[in-house]
């Protein structure tokens, strides 16, 4: 019987020849992740289980990234819980400020997740690693605690939905636009409990950075995971990085899908998601003219080198609008260093933008760019819920980095062509 890539990975980790959608399986986990918001609760629960040691100190990653560098005393206490636990358990993958990154940019970069893995993380955007051909999904703190003790967790094998992208990409259209468009078509619960599989000639052409952006937002359609079959680009990315053995899985040609969507990308222009749901997407031309107070470029969705290069292409030799704050967040220290060496920071600072150390900060309204009442931001982040970036009466519009940069220059939501 044929299987999807998701079913094959879950079967392999459950010690079975095959699994069926709907079946409950206990699966071995290859990597378990927590951050400074979710891990403190997980560590508290872990200590109640009655085991002394975690299942494997090399297979747990703790990344303080949400409220670090610590924004206040309470968040400092939270981050300290991770640090103390990492030392006590001798965890090899604890990442301190100055050596860290936004978790979902960091783990692939460090080779801690790879094709064919099962990964759970107490962070909803753990689905990012689907771009490597891994089964990766978000869980809560208690599930994280149990997995830290057992090295396995339970899953209901999801049905899969296939998304097939064909045609020629328009200028300034990338992974962010494809995923926003997709969420706009199926809605924020369009893939609820299901595996999303992104395929087709357009996906083959996408860079790894763009693929990460797509898989990252599977959760915004309610998806359990968002997978892309690994290929030569995946191989080039993981070779020399991977800290553990990996396996390439492909969906069988006659694998079963609950739904199949086909999108002609030549009809897609850069997308903007209006407040207050990621499904409220419109072509950027329908958003043009909306005044903004802040532009945020970065996050686990769009904080990779390709994203910063796109922003730099638009900002080069130009100035951020006098009434706009433009804040740029590279995803990791390594991305930061490379962007610096390429001269991207020179461009950003000449333009009047701020460049920050890696942090999730503004994306979730934590710190480093909170909006006041009535303010409006365009952001390359992943959510535009009520109050997401600050005051409950502020607004967030989601876009790709080029649109955010062009909007920063003009002080209103704009197409990159209006600037470049």
């Amino acid at each position: 019987m044929s299987m999807t890539i998701t079913e094959k990975i879950l079967a392999a980790h459950a010690g079975k020849d095959r699994v069926e959608p709907g079946e409950l399986v206990n699966a071995r986990v290859d990597m378990v992740l927590g951050n400074d918001i979710t891990a403190p609760v997980a560590i508290r629960e872990f200590k109640k289980i009655g085991v002394e040691k975690v299942f494997n100190p090399d297979r747990i990653a703790l990344v303080p990234d949400h409220f670090v560098p610590n924004k206040d005393i309470k968040s400092a206490e939270q981050a300290k819980i991770l640090r103390d636990f990492a030392r006590e358990q001798q965890l090899t993958n604890y990442f301190e400020v100055g050596r860290m990154g936004i978790e979902h940019c960091l783990l692939p970069e460090q080779g801690l997740v790879g094709p064919g893995d099962v990964v759970i993380g107490a962070d909803s955007h753990t689905c990012t690693y689907g771009a490597l051909g891994a089964f990766a999904t978000g869980v809560g703190s208690t599930d994280l605690a149990a997995a830290m003790a057992l090295g396995e967790t339970w899953f209901k094998v999801p049905e899969s939905i296939k998304f097939y992208y064909y045609g020629r990409l328009n200028p300034w259209v990338g992974g962010k636009d494809l995923i926003l468009y997709t969420i706009g078509k199926i809605g924020v619960d369009g893939a609820l409990y299901k595996a999303m599989e992104f395929t087709g000639p357009v996906i083959k052409e996408l860079s790894m950075d763009s693929r990460f952006t797509m898989s990252n937002m599977a959760i915004e359609a309610g998806g359990k995971c968002g997978l892309i079959e690994p290929d030569e680009k995946t191989r080039a990315y993981v070779e020399g990085r991977a800290k553990f053995p990996y396996t390439f899985y492909q969906s069988d040609e006659d694998a079963r899908y609950s739904e199949v969507y086909e999108f002609d990308v030549s009809k897609i222009e850069p997308q903007v998601a209006f407040p207050h749901l990621p499904e409220n997407t419109k072509p950027v031309s329908e958003a043009a003219g909306i005044k903004i107070d802040q532009a945020v470029i970065g996050s686990c969705t769009n904080g990779r080198l390709e994203d910063l290069r796109l922003a730099a292409r638009v900002l080069k030799g130009r100035k951020v609008h006098p009434e706009v704050r433009c804040i740029i967040f590279p995803g990791t220290q390594e991305i930061y260093r490379r962007a610096m060496r390429e001269g991207l920071f020179e461009i950003f600072i000449e333009a009047g933008a701020a460049v920050s150390t890696p942090t999730c900060g503004p994306c979730l309204g934590g710190h480093m760019g909170i909006l006041a009442k009535g303010e409006r931001a365009i952001a390359t982040t992943n959510r535009n819920f009520v109050g997401r970036m600050g005051h409950p009466e502020s607004e967030v519009y989601l876009s790709n980095p080029a649109v955010a940069a062009a909007s920063a220059v003009l002080g209103r939501i704009a197409k990159p062509e209006e600037v470049v």
Binding site: L24, I37, T38, P40, V41, R44, E45, K48, I49, G50, V51, H66, F67, K71, D72, K74, S75, Q78, G121, A122, D123, S124, T126, G138, V139, G140, S141, T142, D143, A145, A146, A149, L150, W154, K156, V188, D189, L192, Y193, I219, G222, K224, L277, L364, G365, G366, R383, F385, V386, G387, R388, P392
Partner: protein, 166 residues
């Protein structure tokens, strides 16, 4: 187990940022989180409700972040259970893991009005609307989830398993 309380209604796609905004996530203390439960949908919510009250919502309740602080805030605020047309996946798992009863029931989500008195039989999933003299049936809870509830949450379930294997 019987749960009894007044219904508080919310719409669809209630996200975890509305349930507990991230500005309060610099703590994981349940009592502190409870004070801010549903704050961005209704700033007075935590002060208005009584112990045992029930949240009734539309589709995709708890979408967004994986923060377990969301079901913890609801539970610590004194809400006895959440009834919704559907739940986002991570919230669904988290609620069972921490012992917050939740029920999937489209009929209740539609027919219950704010202020209705509800009585829920947690074992059978039967929801009685005392105010309107109606009864709705929730989607049965999968057997494995029932085992987690019976054990008193995932940590107790895992703890027993570890002891039995030890």
């Amino acid at each position: 187990m019987k749960l009894k309380g007044t219904a508080w209604k919310f719409g669809s796609d209630i996200d975890t940022d509305v349930i507990i905004p991230a500005r309060h996530l610099n703590t994981s203390d349940p009592a502190e989180l409870a004070k801010h439960c549903m704050e961005d949908a209704d700033p007075e919510f935590a002060a208005k409700i009584s112990a045992g009250d029930v949240i009734v919502a539309g589709k995709n309740f708890g979408c967004g972040s994986s923060r377990e602080h969301a079901p913890i805030a609801i539970k610590a605020a004194g809400i006895s259970c959440v009834i919704a047309k559907s739940f986002a996946r991570i919230f669904y798992r988290n609620a069972f893991n921490i012992g917050l009863p939740i029920f999937e029931c489209a009929e209740a989500a539609e027919k219950v009005q704010p202020g209705d008195r509800l009585e829920i039989d947690a074992d059978s999933g039967l929801i009685k609307n005392i105010t309107r003299d109606e009864t709705y049936r929730a989607t049965p809870v999968p057997e494995f989830m029932q085992q987690i509830i019976a054990a008193g949450g995932l940590i107790n379930y895992v703890s027993k398993r570890v002891k039995n294997n030890g």
